[in-house]
Amino acid sequence: MTRRHVMEFERPLFALEDKLDELRRLDTAENPELTAEIEALALELVRLRAATYEHLDPWARVQIARHPDRPKTEHYVGALFDDVVEVHGDRTFGDDEAIFAGFGTLAGGRRVAVLGHRKGVDTKSNIRRNFGSPHPEGYRKAMRVMRLADKFGLPLVTFLDTAGAYPGIEAEERGQALAIAESLSLLSGLRVPVICVGIGEGGSGGALAIGFGDRLIMLENAYYSVISPEMCSNILYKDPAQASTAAACLKLTAGELVELGIADEVIPEPTGGAHRDSVPVITAVGVAVERALADLDGIAPEGLVQTRYERLRAIGEYDS
């Protein structure tokens, strides 16, 4: 099996797998003592595999969230929606391919508006999509679809997967901060249900701009954080290498976000991560989205806005 991408915490495991593969290719008839060694290593491999994946620390989960083979927005859109119509452009500057925007129909027949950060699936598409880091025009395209969703009463489903909004000169000059702020304002007032799904990286304000609503569903190994573990480590230790410690401090995993009252639901992933077997994960996301939308059925538009405001109002811990 060719492995495109080995994560740091998997290295010892994969080294052992390679060694075992090598031994198995040797002729055991000529070297009978190998049989015992192979058996011992195979046993060790089972033990190590369990140890590697049983208790993933937050930093390991961040690595899984960033795995290049992890299912992306386009995989979810392709699998969960029929009759997809993608739309383009912010009508002001350009079309940002780092954001997917469009409409689709869920298996149960619900017609919805869809937004998502869009990482590429290979180098070529990653360059076109700026590795999933939007510019202001990406958020402005997203806002167009939010307004259309509100105008035509279509629930909004968003997929979160970005390292963050792009920190470049042009992005700043074209109003990255304004685009995010306006998106937050717009989301807070949408008179339709808003369901957000954290499928990979939830990088700060760039994720938040399409990343809060009436429900937040998180994949087990997706993260959502105020700052990247590397940048946090840089600030705390003047060294990006302490990212693992920073990741643990930030409480950015799906499970921790449920405890903090920010996420509502965690969708389990197969051992090792969603990239190992994406079909059941994508299916489970579809089921969770349909259920969340069914939960919100029958709530009047003003009720949705009020409930969403109260949900936001409840976030924050302080003494009074």
């Binding site: 920190p167 700043e172 306006e182 937050l184 007032g189 705390l236």
Partner: protein, 298 residues
Amino acid sequence: MSVTDWFSQRERRRYTRTGGGQGRPGPSEVADGIWVQCPGCKRALLERELAEKVRVCSGCGHHFAMTPTERIASLVDDGTFTEIDASLTPRDPLGFVAVKSYAESLSAAREKSGANEAVLTGRAAIAGAGVVLGVMDFRFIGASMGSVVGERVTRAFELATEERLPAVMVTASGGARMQEGMLSLMQMAKTSAAVRRHSDAGLPYLSILTNPTYGGVTASFAVLADVIFAEPGAMIGFAGPRLVEQTIRQKLPKGFQTSESMLKHGMIDRIVARTELRDTVALMLSYLTPRAGGGAGV
């Protein structure tokens, strides 16, 4: 103890002797006779004179940082500021412990600033007109926005909405308060939602961006104002200049992310010198009076 008493007592802790009215300390013995070098023109300025001239260099017009007390004194009618929500104080919801624990950072910030959080909010009057005012304090963990900053700003907008008052926010911030993790990030959404309700009620909001305003504060309530002013030479942006430089691996253009560059790119309405700020804010707000019948309209 009333909030005003508490407020002036807190100020007394920072100055050895207070003169002047409530919340507006006069020059102290400690500050008296201290010389400060202007980073703009390198001139040596007398601290006492700087304080009298709203902390603007008489030589080159460089705007020095102001404490919230100085800001309030320079911006609102004498003695009209009354703080709200002063009793809201931070917790350590994540149990954040790295090199320094969040609890230690908080106590160092309290020590350094004499404040209990990074924003002061309250009622005030500017040229006789009532407003709800917020002033951020960069000395308090870089005026980062955690739960308390988010809550105080949100409550300020809610109060302004309820009492049909204009809101004025004087911002400065390094961004979100990372020690509060996602609770901090979500304050961006919370404050933006509160600003929207205020706006939907047809009420005016004016923000004044001061040096430096970055990250989660810029990308939420700071830029959602009806009219945005900035002080001259203030650094304003979403991503910090070092991060941008590291990302693009190029030198940044001269003047990048200054108020002057923000004005040129159409991101703010006016650059207003601090000496003109009170009058300009009053004049601007006089145009932005809610129309009869209310509502945001178009």
